[in-house]
Symmetry: D2
Subunit: 333 residues, 4 copies
C-alpha cells in the first residue's frame, strides 16, 4: 500500500500533536508543516524531520501532498478549507468549522461542487470507551436509547486572551458535547440551555458563561442532558451515561494509575482524573487520524464530516439563543 502524503497547517499544541501522530503513522508520509509563526513550524519540522513550508501555497502546489490537517485559529478555517479543496486536497479540520453558522454554510456552498472530503476533528468519537459505548448501544445492548447524560468539565478556564476569541462556551467547549449528543442520539429537534457565570468573574465581564445545564430532545424522542464547567479541581471530568429500555451504559474517566488507598480518614481513594485533554484523549487523537487515513486509502466517506460540523455548530448557536430568550429553540430539519 502506498503511503499518503500529508501536511499539517498550524503548529500550536493541537497541530504539533497531529504532526507527531502522523510522523509515526505507518500509512502516512508527513511531508510539510506550516505556521504563520515560521519558527513554530521550523521547530516541529526539525523535530520530525519534515519540511517547513514557507507559505500555504507551497502546500497547495505540492502534488505529493494529498491531504492536509487544519489546526490553525478558527477564523482561518473556512478560507483554508476552501483553498485546500480547490487545490484538490482532502481536509481534516479542527472544530469548530467557524464561529458563524452562516459562514460555515457558505463555505459548503463554495466547495460542494468539488466533491470535497472534509472530516471535522470531533476527537471524542474516537475515544475507545466512548466508541465502545456507542457501538454497544447500536448493537442493541440496552435497547432503545431513552436518556443520555453527558458530563464535561475542564480542569481550568483557558487564558483570558483565548477566551476573548473563543466564540463562547457553547461554540468552544460544549460543541464537543453537542456532537456527542448527536453521536449517541442522532439528530436533535429541540434545545434548551441554562448558563451561569460561577467560576471566574472575568468570563462574565466578557459576556460569556462558564457553567451550563443543557437539555436536548432528539428527533427519536430520546432526551439528552449536558453539563459543563470551565473548572474542575479533580481533573478533566469526561463521562457519558446512556440509559435505555434494557439497561444503562456508562463510560468513565481515566486515571494515571490504578492505585487506591485506604486510611483512617477514608477508603478507596484514587488518583485525580487525568488533567489534560492531550492525555485523556491521546488514543482518540491517534484513532481519529487513523480513521481519516483509512477512509482516504479505502475510498470510504469520512466521519464525522462537514455536515456534522455544521450540525454541532447549529446546536451551539441554538443554545445561545435559548439562553438569551428563555425559550426552547426548535430546529428545522
Amino acid at each position: 500500500m502506498a503511503t499518503l502524503g500529508m501536511a499539517v497547517l498550524g503548529c500550536g499544541r493541537i497541530g504539533r500533536l497531529h504532526a507527531r501522530n502522523l510522523a509515526r503513522h505507518p500509512r502516512v508520509r508527513l511531508a510539510q508543516v506550516f505556521d504563520v509563526a515560521g519558527e513554530a513550524a521550523q521547530q516541529v519540522a526539525a523535530e520530525l524531520g519534515v519540511r517547513s513550508a514557507r507559505s500555504v501555497d507551497e502546500i497547495w502546489d505540492e502534488r505529493n501532498v494529498r491531504a492536509v490537517v487544519i489546526a490553525t485559529p478558527t477564523d482561518t478555517h473556512v478560507p483554508l478549507i476552501v483553498a485546500a479543496v480547490k487545490a484538490g486536497k482532502a481536509v481534516f479540520c479542527e472544530k469548530p468549522i467557524d464561529m458563524s453558522l452562516e459562514r460555515a454554510r457558505a463555505c459548503w456552498g463554495e466547495i460542494a461542487a468539488d466533491a470535497p472530503v472534509v472530516m471535522i476533528g470531533f476527537n471524542r468519537r474516537f475515544d475507545p470507551s466512548y466508541r465502545a459505548l456507542r457501538e454497544r448501544l447500536k448493537l442493541g445492548e440496552i435497547g432503545r436509547l431513552e436518556l443520555a447524560v453527558i458530563t464535561s468539565r475542564d480542569p481550568a478556564p483557558p487564558p483570558a486572551g483565548y477566551l476573548q476569541s473563543s466564540g463562547g462556551l457553547f461554540r468552544d467547549m460544549t460543541i464537543h458535547d453537542f456532537d456527542m449528543a448527536r453521536y449517541l442520539a442522532g439528530d436533535i429537534a429541540r434545545v434548551h440551555a441554562f448558563g451561569a457565570n460561577l467560576v471566574d468573574a472575568e468570563i462574565g465581564r466578557l459576556g460569556d458563561i462558564d457553567t451550563c445545564a443543557i437539555s436536548l430532545r432528539a428527533r427519536s424522542g430520546a432526551l439528552v442532558q449536558i453539563n459543563n464547567s470551565r473548572r474542575c479541581v479533580y481533573g478533566y471530568d469526561q463521562r457519558l451515561e446512556a440509559f435505555g429500555s434494557g439497561g444503562m451504559l456508562q463510560a468513565g474517566n481515566r486515571h494515571e494509575t490504578s492505585v487506591a488507598s485506604w486510611n483512617a480518614e477514608r477508603t478507596t481513594g484514587r488518583d485525580v482524573v487525568l488533567h489534560s485533554f492531550i492525555e485523556r484523549y491521546a488514543q482518540a487523537y491517534e484513532a481519529e487520524m487513523d480513521a481519516f487515513v483509512a477512509a482516504l486509502a479505502e475510498g470510504r466517506p469520512v466521519s464525522p464530516d462537514f455536515a456534522d460540523g455544521v450540525e454541532a455548530l447549529r446546536l451551539a448557536v441554538a443554545a445561545g439563543e435559548s439562553l438569551r430568550t428563555g425559550r426552547v429553540v426548535e430546529l428545522g430539519p
Copy 2:
C-alpha cells in the same frame, strides 16, 4: 421521657410501614390505626397490637394521641390535615400535599392561625447517604455548589389504576427530586422541562409522560439537572451528584450484597440495585419518623415543613407549564 401517643391514618403499603416503625419506636406509643377499608386497619392493628379506630373522629377525640401520620390517598390529605390541626394534633403527611397548588395554599390559609405542626414525607432527605452528602456540602467540603445532577428512575410504572389518579409524573414522582433540588441548592428561580412518552404507550394515552429531563436554576445561581424514567430494568436507580468549586460528592445506589463477579464475558459485575423503595429507603423511613418524634419531643420546628411541601408542588406545576409552553417558567419569590 414520656412516650408520644400517635395514630396512623391509611393502612396501605406506606401507612403500614410507618405504623411498624412507630410500633417499635422507643419514644412512641402507637395507639390507633385507621383505614376506610376497615379490614386493612384491623390487620395492621392485630399485627401490632394496637386499636383500629372506627372513624377518624375517634382519633381526633383521643386526647392521648398527640400526633398523626397521614398516609391516605392524596385527595384526602388537605381535609385530614385541616381536621387534625383543628383537633390539636401534630401532623406528618405523605407527599404531595395535594394535586392542586391552590388547594395546598388554601389549606395553609385555613390552619395558619393554629400554630400548626406539619411535616411532609420527603423521605429521601433522611437517607443516610443523601443526608451525609448534604451535610458535607453545607460544611463546605466542595466549596460553593455550582451544579447538581439528580438521577431517579423507578423500576417499573405503577399500575394503570394508580397512574390515572397520580397527578402525573411531576407531581407523583419528580416531586421528590424537586424537593431534593431545594434540599441541595435552596430556592429555585427558573424551571425548564422536557418530557417524553417512551416507556409505556398507555401512559401517553393518559396524557402523561414517563421520561423527563429537567433543568433548574437556583436563586443562588447553581444549576440542577433532574432525569427520571418510569422504568429501569436494573432496579430503583437513585443517585445524586453535587459539583462545586472545590470538588464533587456523589451518593449512589444500594445493592443486596457486596458480591462482585469476574468471568470470561465481563468483570466486577454486581447485583442489580435494590428494586423497592421500601428497601432502598428503609433507613430513611425510620429516620424521618425519628426526626418528627424528636422535633415534637424537643419543641423544635419540623423539617421539611408545609412550606417545603408547597414549594416542591410549585416546581411540579411549573415543570408542567414549561413542558406545555416550551418556555422557561420564572418563579416569583
Copy 3:
C-alpha cells in the same frame, strides 16, 4: 406455629445482641437470661421484659425453655453444653467450643449418646454477601474452586485483659477464617502458618502474635490463603475472594454511606469501613439465630454443628503447631 421458648446465658456484648434479636423474633419467646454478674442479666431482662434467672439450674429446670444460647466466657462453654444437653435443651454456643481440642472432643464424648443439637456461632456463614458468594460457588458459577483468599483484619487489638485469656490469635480470631475456609473449600488436609508480632509489643510479651499469613490445602486440592491483623485503621476489613476454573467471586466490605468524594488531592474517596463486628455482621447475627430457630422448628440438623466447631479448632491448633515447628501440619481424616 408455636413459639420456641429460649434462654440466653451470658449477658456480655454478644449475649445482649443475641437476646435482643431473640426478643423480637416472631417464632421465639425469650423466657430467661442469665449472667454470673447478676446485674448484667437484670439490666438485659428489664430492657427486654424477660426473667433474669438466678442460676443456670433454674434454666435447666424450666420445661418451657427448649433451647439456650451460650455466650459466656470460653472456659465455661463445655460444662454448660454438657449440662444443657443433659437437661434436654438444644444449644447454640458461641465459638470456640473450648481452648483445648481434647476437651472439645471429650465434650462430644459425653453428650454424643444424647442426640445432641448443638450449633456453633460462626456468624460469618450467615453474612448475606458471604452466603451469596458461597451459594453461587456451589451452583457452579465459577466452576471448581481452585484458590480462595480470606482477608480479616480487626480495627484494634482487644484489651490486654481479654488477650490474656483469648487463647491466642488463631483460636480467638482466625478461628472464624478457618471455618470460612471449610465453608468454601471443604475439609482441610494441610496447614501452614506464619505469624508476627507487629502491632503491639504487649501482645508479643504475652507470647502471642497479631499478624499472620496462613496457607491451607483442602482435600479437594484447592488452596486457601488467610491473612489477619489485629489492627486496621480503616475499619473492620472483611473480604473473601474465590477463584475457580470459570472466574472469580469477591465479597467486600460495608460502608456507612454510599457517598464518594472527588477533590484536588484524590477521587472516589469512600467512608471508612464499618468498624464494629456488631454493625458489620448485624444481618448475619440475625440470620444465624433465624437458622437455628428454623432448624429446631422444622426438625432439620443445625449447621454449622459441633463437628464444625471441632474442625475449626483443630485448624487453629494445627496452625499453632506449624508456627512453632516451621513445618506443614498434616491433618488426618
Copy 4:
C-alpha cells in the same frame, strides 16, 4: 546528549518488543538485532531499518554498540551475559538469569571483576501503578509494611513445548512475584509454598504445578502472600495489596475501556481484564528500557541488578524445596 548504540539478541516476542521500544527511543540508536533463526532477525531488522547481525561476535566486535538486550532462551543467558561483559557491553537480560541458582552465581563469579553492568528484566517494577504504590509506601503513606498480598494469574498455560523447558512455575512465572515481594518488603528470610495441579493434567505429567499459594516472611518481619494460577478466564489478573500500620494501598488491573454496564441481570459490569502481558505491561516495558538507558547515560547503578536476579531465583528454588519437603525454608543472609 549522544545517543547510545544498542543491539537486541533474540527476536522472539519479547525481543521484538524491546527492539521496537529502542528503535523509537530518543536517546538510543538501535544498531543491530540478532537471532539464531536468521529470518526472525531479518524481519525485525527490516521493520525497524537496522542491521541484522550474522553472529553474536559481530555484535561484540561492534564498538558503537555499548549495550545489549538479551532476550534469548534462558539457557543461553549466562554464556551471553559473560561474553557481553567480557566484550565491554552493558547488559539488560530477561528473567530468569538461569534455571540453576549455582550457574547464576557462577556467572557472577566469572564477571564480577569486570565491573559489570547487568540489569534484569523484572518489568513489573516499572508498571506505573506498582511503582506508584511502592513509592507511596516508601514515603510512609501507610506506615510500616506489615502484610502484602500479590495476585498473579495468567490467562492460559503456555504451550506444552514451552512448559517443558520453562523451569517450572516458580522459576518461570512466580519469579516475577518473588521479585515483587522483595521490591515491596525487602529481603526475605523464610519461604513456604503449597502447589497444586488443578488447571491442566498435562502440566502435572510434566512434574509441574499450575496453582500455588506461597507465604514469605521478610527480614523486616513483614509477611507476604503470593497466589498464582496458570489460567484465568477473565484475563491477566495482576494485583498488589500492601497493608501497613497506617492503612492499605492496592494496585489493580487494567481494562480496555472504562465502559460499565447495568442490566436486568447485574450492574457495573466491566470489560474483562487486558489478556496479554504485552498490553498490560506496555508502559512498564518502555519504562524499564528508559531506566536502563538513563542509568547508563548518567553513570548510575542499574536496578534491578544481577543480585536481584539471583535473589528472586533463590526464592524460586527455596519454594520448590518447601513444596517437596513440606517445611519452611530458611534463607541465610
